[in-house]
Symmetry: D2
Subunit: 264 residues, 4 copies
Amino acid sequence: MQELKDTQSEADTRNISIDRVGVKGLRFPIQIQDKLNRIQSTVATVSLAVDLPEEFKGTHMSRFVEALHQHGPLLDVHTALSIPRELLGRLSASRSHVEMEFPFFRAKAAPVTGREGLMDYVVRFEMEAEAGDRLADFKLTVVVPVTTLCPCSKAMSSYGAHNQRGIVTYSVRFASRPVWIEDLIDLVESCASCSLFSVLKRPDEKWVTEKAYENPVFVEDLVRNVALKTQSHSAFSWYRVEAENFESIHNHQAYAVIERDLRS
Amino acid sequence: MQELKDTQSEADTRNISIDRVGVKGLRFPIQIQDKLNRIQSTVATVSLAVDLPEEFKGTHMSRFVEALHQHGPLLDVHTALSIPRELLGRLSASRSHVEMEFPFFRAKAAPVTGREGLMDYVVRFEMEAEAGDRLADFKLTVVVPVTTLCPCSKAMSSYGAHNQRGIVTYSVRFASRPVWIEDLIDLVESCASCSLFSVLKRPDEKWVTEKAYENPVFVEDLVRNVALKTQSHSAFSWYRVEAENFESIHNHQAYAVIERDLRS
Amino acid sequence: MQELKDTQSEADTRNISIDRVGVKGLRFPIQIQDKLNRIQSTVATVSLAVDLPEEFKGTHMSRFVEALHQHGPLLDVHTALSIPRELLGRLSASRSHVEMEFPFFRAKAAPVTGREGLMDYVVRFEMEAEAGDRLADFKLTVVVPVTTLCPCSKAMSSYGAHNQRGIVTYSVRFASRPVWIEDLIDLVESCASCSLFSVLKRPDEKWVTEKAYENPVFVEDLVRNVALKTQSHSAFSWYRVEAENFESIHNHQAYAVIERDLRS
Amino acid sequence: MQELKDTQSEADTRNISIDRVGVKGLRFPIQIQDKLNRIQSTVATVSLAVDLPEEFKGTHMSRFVEALHQHGPLLDVHTALSIPRELLGRLSASRSHVEMEFPFFRAKAAPVTGREGLMDYVVRFEMEAEAGDRLADFKLTVVVPVTTLCPCSKAMSSYGAHNQRGIVTYSVRFASRPVWIEDLIDLVESCASCSLFSVLKRPDEKWVTEKAYENPVFVEDLVRNVALKTQSHSAFSWYRVEAENFESIHNHQAYAVIERDLRS
């Protein structure tokens, strides 16, 4: 085979290092080990990147994809950091960044009839590693759809209250050991007017309607409820919670955000 | 200037004519003349296409963009068909197709306080023309967000009722003269539990909450209400109405569709 | 338990039947049996609907989700129609419609080095059934990303030729037995300037660059190539092929469509 | 009129202040004054937010929308900060945040024939203000589509080179006076293999094809070129540049990011 020029390895004279270079929008089937120790198959959208020192013209893009394939599909909150660590060696990098976002499912029983259905969530892993183990950052995000019922609308109206689907995007860093995805979802769902279900029979629908009416929350309440529960845990070193309400009375969203570093 | 090869005009021997060839995803600033005879500036996403007979290898893509630029930004429901007609000549085509989708705004006063705010909708023009005026099809679509409150949830529950934002996609063809975009939006909004507003003060919020509670509709009711009003008009020769509810109790949508040809 | 009102089953007096009513945007983990007889786990976005006669006020939305759960995750091109058939009975409907869209993966070896990587595609099943087996429609769609290199740019330029990623959306109905998803993908990929790969080492990149340069295609050529291959098969009773090029020299897309009924 | 309860103004006892609360996804027609002193009409997607001290239960969402309406549609890089400043007073806030994203158009002549066409870009304003003028942050982002041609593919291949549409997202903060949107776009376009055009006749297509072939850039080169030009200006105090290539040979993207604070 002829010798092919390795343009990427050429010297670069611009004296500008690159913070992050890699691939994005790669779809890859993965398996998540869940709290019940079961394996859940899903499909992730992945990005993989490393830093690039100023002296090199380019990185070797195919190695990112190879690293992902070699790691294989199995992933859990305890071992996820192995992927960015593999990148460090394979790309001769001093810092690496990996992001994986995927749908995550839980069997959830309807509140009165107990009928089971799968609820879907979005989960995101963001991981960074540095050579020499100087850094190992793991940020876990769950995107949890919920019901929110407006306290102001309830307080003013002779009957009824506007309510809607809201989306809570909840990200955490762990103080030490990771917390299960399922526990983060439970935490968020307990802070809304009511949680969502995929199957609801008539007695269940009555139950969720009344429960939401009894638990009105603004987006402000929702993020504060999540903040309080997070801060009362010792498991977290940082969190960010954003609630976004797809208002049933407007064509725009209401939103609120709290972010806190919990390291003293 | 050297003579450049015109690859598109070469003969094709595959004996397969092409139904539609052109450009898509082109953004273009337009001006819509509205019912109050005012000019509204907005931005359209445009596609332009013609048929291609089996004997030609390709069409001339730049001519589509030139035709759009030459037509200029002004558009209304009465003159829209001039764009596909211009394509016929410019591309030597026997059939042409143009689609334009854009945000459309209306000043709308809050129901009690009268505070004005702009409500945004999506409007789509789909137009077809044939050489020799054998065809001139104009399909007008309005996408109208509304409030829907669930009749079943209201009937069963001791208090409250789940409600949510729904999206109604309403398309019509006209029997003769076009109907104003604003009138189509009014028709749809009058069929929902309540319509949406961009500005609502507290007395307005009480009003929309109670109005929605007094007017519960399933997606089935919503499309039937729109269907009834459409059929009672003599203005339309065809319609399609789809309602999609972003259920506040589920993470999926409920939807319903009715489509009818009204030519006897 | 108290007797809860069944609002949906009430009589409706508007005399308007509904073409399609159901749920949309439901995410569900599925398993696809592929050509190699292996089971592939992925995640589908599902819609399920039935017609509704004019005499009923509403359908029972929870039954759609229950039908999907009861069917279970396993799906293949031969048995897919069982889902719409189950809906007919469960919803007492005369016509049902099911749509499932999901990422689909294939191991694909790089053309020179043979390195394997997973290529991702999008696959869509659209199925309709009618009571009494009067209808059983199955439309299979594969969305295949490819390389397209412009013949005109190549013919005119002293060196180089603009090329880009294109997306081919190819839908078929079968004359009798279904064709494997993999075979439809192969058919489309063979019609482009070159097919895509997830892993390419330097000798592979040289190969795909030169192959694309040797095989320039317009969007017009691409859809005609697919059309020719489809028509030379006896397996299909109908097809539609759309090619959309994300032009590297424009900020809009070029596109072309051919649709044909092949029943004589 | 009856006295309606003001739930938002009630006391909150959770002792958690909220970083940002407001509205999102609001569409609003705006007018941008451009470098040629012309007014360009377009449509923005807007978010408006303030901080909320721990002692208040909620903010007053309608005031955000009223503030936007009262400001009116006219916007330019010099006066944009007036919107967040208005929010401070109207919402009794100590900090406010406004984001506006909109399509932006420029007439651009084809390189050989001089034919004019409109090129579309995306522009984003992100603005923060603090009470007492302690802060006035303005971040301007332009999203510029370009052509990128791969240096490695060109170096290795006997003919041709893969190229594709890339997207450069370029954000800056100004050292003192703002720089025109048009100048930021020019800066980015000059760093790519070639810039894009909406209208290209055959001689123009030959020109852009050859120009791209003569100027191959990796995503790494593209962000470094933008970085160099930014750093050689005294106009900027901070920048971030991200390039994302929709690779014509892969179904994923290559990307690179550089971010620098330029205050010494």
